[in-house]
C-alpha cells in the first residue's frame, strides 16, 4: 500500500526536480495521446521539442521562441507576485488587451508625426491601461471584499468586447477600406516595436521581460516588500502580526500584474502583431498562469518555463502543419504539463512510503 508522509521540511532537491519530471511524464503521456490519434509518438514529440531548436528551419523558429516567450514571461512574472501572496489574478488576458488598446491608442493619436518620445509614451500608456484594468478587481476586493478571481476573469470578457468595438470603431484604419482593424504600427516608425538586433527576435518587449525577471528576483529575495509578499502567502496571520497591510499588498500585487500584462499587450500590438484587430489576443494571459506555476512562481523558473511553453507553441504549430495533429491535441498537451506539474509537486512536501503488512 502506498502511503504519503509529510516531510519535516520541503525537499530542496524535489523543488528543482519536479518541473523536469513533469516535462518527462508529459512527453510520455502526450506520446501515448498522439499514438492513439494514429501518429508516430516519437516523431510527434521530436517535432515539438527538437524541430524548432535544431531542425532545418531553426534559423526561423529560434527568434520566434523569444517573440512568443517574452509576453508569457512578462505576464507570468506579474502574476507570480500575487500568486505568492495568495492573490489570484486570473484576468491577465483582459489586462493584456486593455494595455494593447491604450498603448496603440496613444501611438495612433500621434499618427503621422515622427518623434522619439512616442514609443516610450506608448509603453507608459500600455502599462497604465493594464494597471487601471487590474485596479477594478483590486479596489472592489479591498473595499467590498469581492472575489478577485471572479471579477478579474469576468473583466476579460468585457475587455474582449471593448477590443472588438475599438477595432470596428475608434481605432479602425480610416484608409482600410472599411475592413476592421487599426493601422499597422509596423509601418509607423515612431510607434514600431522593432527588433533591437535584427534577425534575433529580440524586440523591446523581450528586454522588458528579462528586466522584469531580474527585478522580481531582487524584490522577492532582497526587499522587505517581497518578504511580505511571501509571508502573506505562507502565513496570512503571521503577516498581519508582522505589520503587513493586506489592502496595500492587494493593490500592489494586482497593480503590478496588470501593468506588466498591459505592457506585454502593448509590445505585442506594436511589434509582432502590428495592429489592433478583433482576434488580437491569443490567450497569452491564460497560458501565463501555467507558466507561472510551471516556473514554481520563481522568477528564474518562470524564465525557463516561458521559453519551454513558447517551444510547445511553435513545435505544436509545426506538428499541426507537418503531421496533421489537431490543434486541440496540442492544447491538451500543454494542459497536461500543468496537470502533471501539480501532481508531481506533492513530492516536494511529502514522501511516498510503501507500507507492508500492518502490525496488530
Amino acid at each position: 500500500m502506498l502511503k504519503l508522509e509529510k516531510r519535516p521540511q520541503p525537499s530542496r532537491l524535489w523543488t528543482y526536480l519536479t518541473p523536469v519530471v513533469a516535462v518527462v511524464i508529459t512527453m510520455i503521456a502526450g506520446g501515448a495521446l498522439f499514438a492513439l490519434l494514429g501518429k508516430n509518438p516519437v516523431e510527434a514529440i521530436g517535432t515539438i521539442f527538437w524541430e524548432p531548436l535544431f531542425g532545418e528551419f531553426a534559423f526561423y523558429y529560434r527568434p520566434q521562441l523569444l517573440v512568443k516567450g517574452a509576453p508569457l514571461i512578462l505576464i507570468a512574472i506579474g502574476l507570480s507576485l500575487g500568486f505568492r501572496a495568495g492573490i489570484w489574478n486570473i484576468g491577465a488576458e483582459g489586462q493584456y488587451i486593455i494595455g494593447a488598446l491604450t498603448g496603440a491608442g496613444v501611438g495612433l493619436a500621434f499618427y503621422p508625426m515622427e518623434a522619439w518620445f512616442i514609443f516610450p509614451l506608448m509603453v507608459i500608456a500600455g502599462a497604465l491601461g493594464g494597471w487601471a484594468w487590474a485596479m477594478i478587481p483590486a479596489l472592489l476586493k479591498v473595499r467590498f471584499g469581492t472575489n478577485e478571481i471572479l471579477v478579474s476573469l469576468m473583466l476579460v470578457y468585457v475587455a474582449e468586447q471593448l477590443l472588438a468595438k475599438m477595432s470596428l470603431g475608434l481605432l479602425r484604419n480610416p484608409e482600410g477600406h472599411g475592413f476592421p482593424g487599426s493601422r499597422n504600427l509596423q509601418q509607423y516608425e515612431s510607434a514600431h516595436n522593432a527588433e533591437v538586433i535584427a534577425g534575433t527576435g529580440m524586440h523591446w518587449g523581450v528586454l522588458a521581460a528579462f528586466l522584469a525577471v531580474i527585478l522580481a528576483y531582487v524584490l522577492l529575495n532582497r526587499h522587505i516588500l517581497g518578504y511580505h509578499i511571501r509571508l502573506t502567502g505562507e502565513a496570512p496571520r503571521a503577516a498581519r502580526f508582522a505589520g503587513v497591510n493586506p489592502a496595500r499588498l492587494i493593490l500592489f500585487c494586482l497593480g503590478t500584474a496588470g501593468a506588466l500584462a498591459g505592457m506585454a499587450g502593448m509590445f505585442e500590438v506594436s511589434g509582432p502583431s502590428g495592429q489592433v484587430s478583433i482576434d488580437f489576443n491569443v490567450g497569452y494571459g491564460f497560458t501565463a498562469i501555467i507558466v507561472a506555476f510551471l516556473g514554481r512562481l520563481h522568477p528564474i523558473g518562470i524564465l525557463f518555463a516561458g521559453l519551454l511553453m513558447a517551444l510547445t507553441y511553435i513545435g505544436g504549430e509545426i506538428a499541426q502543419s507537418n503531421l496533421g495533429l489537431p490543434a486541440a491535441a496540442i492544447q491538451m498537451f500543454q494542459g497536461m504539463l500543468l496537470f502533471f506539474l501539480l501532481a508531481v509537486d506533492l513530492l516536494t512536501n511529502f514522501r511516498i512510503r510503501i507500507k507492508t503488512a500492518e502490525a496488530a
Binding site: I224, Y227, E234, A235, R237, F241, A360
Partner: protein, 505 residues
C-alpha cells in the same frame, strides 16, 4: 473494584526520528480513575490514540475484558465501549447542542427523543445542559459538557479524558470531578490524562507515569507526594525560576476604557478594560480559554486598532498605530499560536527572525534586507535561548513546539522591549523549556521592562506575576496582588462556576 478492564502489553509506536511509545504496559481496572501522567511529548497522546483506534501500534497487544482488542478505527473502539473526550473540541459553533451530538452518531434518533435523552443523562450526572442552545454561545466548560454527554450516550466502559481541566475554572473542576466519581461508582473506568499533579492526587486511584515514551513507574497518587511524581515525570529535579527583588518604575502601559469588537463571529469582544503595568512589573492575566485572551493580545500587538487614547505606552497614545509602529516604540508581543501566527511554518528561522525584528534590530537598509545581520540575529536568539536546531536555515515547522516557543520568546526578549505582551508562553512546552522561558520573563522584568503575561496555567501565573487579574467574557476582573491569593479567590475572579454551582445539590 472488580476485574481488569483493559490490559496493555508492550505497546510500541515509532515515528520517523522519534519513538513515541516504547514497550508500554499497564492495566486499567473497572471502576477506577487511572491517571496517565507525563510531560508534553512523553507519548501520552500517542498511547491513547492507539487505544481509541486512531493510530495502529507497531507492536504489542491490548485486551479488553480478556478478549484481544485491536480497534482498526475509532468506530470499532466506540463499539467496544471506549469513548474519548478530546482536549480540542470538534463542535460546530452554528449548530445547537442536540444537532452537534446527532452529527457524531451513526443512527441518530429523532431530534425530540435525542433532546430528551440529553436532558436525562445531563441530570443524572450533574452536567446541566440545554439541548437547544447554540454551541457558539456556550462557555468552554459547557462545550466540554457537550463532548462528555456525547460520550456518555454511548454508555462507555472506558472513558478517556485528555487534559479536561485546562479549560475549566477551579469551581468547574470540582463539578467535573463529582461527575467522574458518579461514573466510576457505576463501574465505568476513566483514563485521565494530565500533568497537573494536585488534581491527580485528588481524583485518581492509580497513576502510570510516562517519560520519553517509556512507562517509568506506577503509583497510588493519594499515597505519593506531588514532588515524587514530578521527579518521576521529569526524570530529575529542575530549578524553580528565581525572582530577584525588583524596583518598580513609571507606568509603562496604561489601558483605560478599552472596548473592542472581536473580528470573528464567535470571538469574544473586550468590554471596558482598565489596567496599568509599571516598569519592572509582571501582570498575570488568567481566565478560561476563549474569554478574550486572543483579542487582548491582538489589540496590544496592533493587529486590532482602537481609539488612540485607550492604550498608552509610557504616556504616548498608541491605540491607532499598527504593529510596526508599536514595535518601533517598544511595545512587543508574542501570540499563543506559534505556527502560523507568531512564526511562518515553512520559512527559515532567519526569515522568522525578520518577521518582528526588522525595525528594532536594524535589519533593513532603505527597504532592502540585510540578510547577514538577519542571520546573526537568528543565531543570537538560538544561542541565548538554547534553541535545539541544526541551524538558522531550518524551517520553523521542523522545530519541536518547545524549541520554537523558545525562539519566539527569545526573538522578542532580545529586542529589549519596553513592554512585552505574551499569550500562553509555555503552552505545550516541556518543563525544562517552560522554566527557561519563565526565567527569561523574570529577567526581562528585572531589567525594567513591563510584562503582561496572559496564560491559562494558574501555577505559572502565581509563580511569576506580581499582580493578577482574570478575563471573563471579555471583562477584566479587579487586579489584585498575586501574593496571598487563594485558589478559591482566583476561581471567583475567573467567573466562578458560571452559575452552575447547584448542579450536584
Amino acid at each position: 473494584m472488580t476485574g481488569t478492564l483493559l490490559t496493555i502489553k508492550g505497546l510500541t509506536k515509532a515515528y520517523p526520528g522519534v519513538v513515541a511509545n516504547d514497550d508500554v504496559s499497564f492495566e486499567i481496572r473497572e471502576g477506577e480513575v487511572h491517571a496517565l501522567l507525563g510531560e508534553n511529548g512523553a507519548g501520552k497522546s500517542t498511547l491513547v490514540k492507539m487505544i481509541y483506534g486512531l493510530v495502529k501500534p507497531d507492536s504489542g497487544a491490548m485486551t479488553l475484558r480478556g478478549t484481544p482488542f485491536t480497534p482498526a478505527e475509532p468506530r470499532a473502539a466506540r463499539a467496544a465501549g471506549v469513548a474519548m473526550v478530546f482536549q480540542h473540541f470538534s463542535l460546530f459553533d452554528a449548530l445547537n447542542v442536540a444537532e452537534n451530538i446527532a452529527l457524531g452518531m451513526e443512527h441518530p434518533p429523532k431530534m425530540r427523543d435525542l433532546a430528551a435523552r440529553i436532558r436525562e443523562v445531563s441530570e443524572t450526572y450533574g452536567l446541566p445542559l440545554d439541548p437547544y442552545r447554540t454551541v457558539g454561545d456556550l462557555s468552554a466548560g459547557e462545550r466540554q459538557r457537550v463532548e462528555i454527554i456525547r460520550c456518555l450516550l454511548q454508555e462507555p466502559k472506558l472513558l478517556i479524558m485528555d487534559e479536561p481541566t485546562s479549560v475549566l475554572t477551579p469551581q468547574e473542576v470540582e463539578i467535573l470531578f463529582e461527575t467522574l466519581r458518579k461514573l466510576t461508582g457505576e463501574g465505568v473506568a476513566i483514563l485521565y490524562i494530565s500533568h497537573k499533579l494536585e488534581e491527580i492526587r485528588a481524583l485518581c486511584d492509580h497513576a502510570t507515569i510516562l517519560r520519553l515514551g517509556r512507562n517509568v513507574g506506577t503509583c497510588v497518587p493519594a499515597e505519593t507526594s506531588a514532588r515524587e511524581m514530578a521527579e518521576l515525570m521529569v526524570g530529575s529535579a529542575f530549578e524553580a525560576p528565581e525572582r530577584a527583588g525588583r524596583a518598580l518604575g513609571d507606568v509603562a502601559l496604561d489601558i483605560s476604557g478599552l472596548s473592542v469588537k472581536s473580528p470573528s463571529a464567535f470571538g469574544t469582544s473586550l468590554k471596558n478594560i482598565h489596567l496599568t503595568v509599571q516598569q519592572g512589573e509582571i501582570l498575570g492575566i488568567g481566565g478560561v480559554a476563549g474569554n478574550g485572551q486572543d483579542e487582548l493580545l491582538a489589540v496590544l500587538s496592533g493587529e486590532l486598532k482602537t481609539h488612540p487614547d485607550a492604550i498608552r505606552l509610557l504616556g504616548q497614545p498608541v491605540g491607532r498605530l499598527g504593529p510596526t509602529a508599536r514595535r518601533e516604540l517598544g511595545l512587543l508581543a508574542a501570540p499563543e499560536e506559534r505556527l502560523g501566527h507568531a512564526a511562518a511554518p515553512d520559512m527559515s528561522l532567519i526569515e522568522n527572525g525578520v518577521l518582528t525584528a526588522a525595525q528594532r534590530e536594524n535589519l533593513l537598509n532603505r527597504g532592502f534586507l540585510k540578510w547577514g545581520a538577519a542571520r546573526s540575529f537568528a543565531e543570537k536568539v538560538i544561542e541565548s535561548f538554547d534553541v535545539r536546531t541544526p541551524g538558522p536555515d531550518n524551517a520553523a515547522r521542523s522545530l519541536s513546539g518547545g524549541n520554537l516557543q523558545k525562539f519566539v520568546i527569545g526573538r522578542e526578549v532580545l529586542q529589549r522591549p519596553k513592554v512585552l505582551v505574551v499569550n500562553q508562553p509555555t503552552w505545550g512546552v516541556d518543563a525544562a523549556a517552560a522554566a527557561a522561558i519563565r526565567q527569561a520573563l523574570l529577567d526581562l522584568a528585572a531589567e525594567g521592562a513591563a510584562i503582561v503575561c496572559i496564560s491559562q496555567d494558574l501555577d505559572e501565573l502565581m509563580e511569576i506575576s506580581d499582580r493578577f487579574g482574570a478575563l471573563n467574557e471579555g471583562r477584566l476582573s479587579d487586579i489584585r496582588p498575586a501574593k496571598g491569593l487563594t485558589v478559591e479567590e482566583i476561581g471567583l475572579m475567573m467567573g466562578g462556576a458560571h452559575g452552575m454551582e447547584v448542579s450536584h445539590a
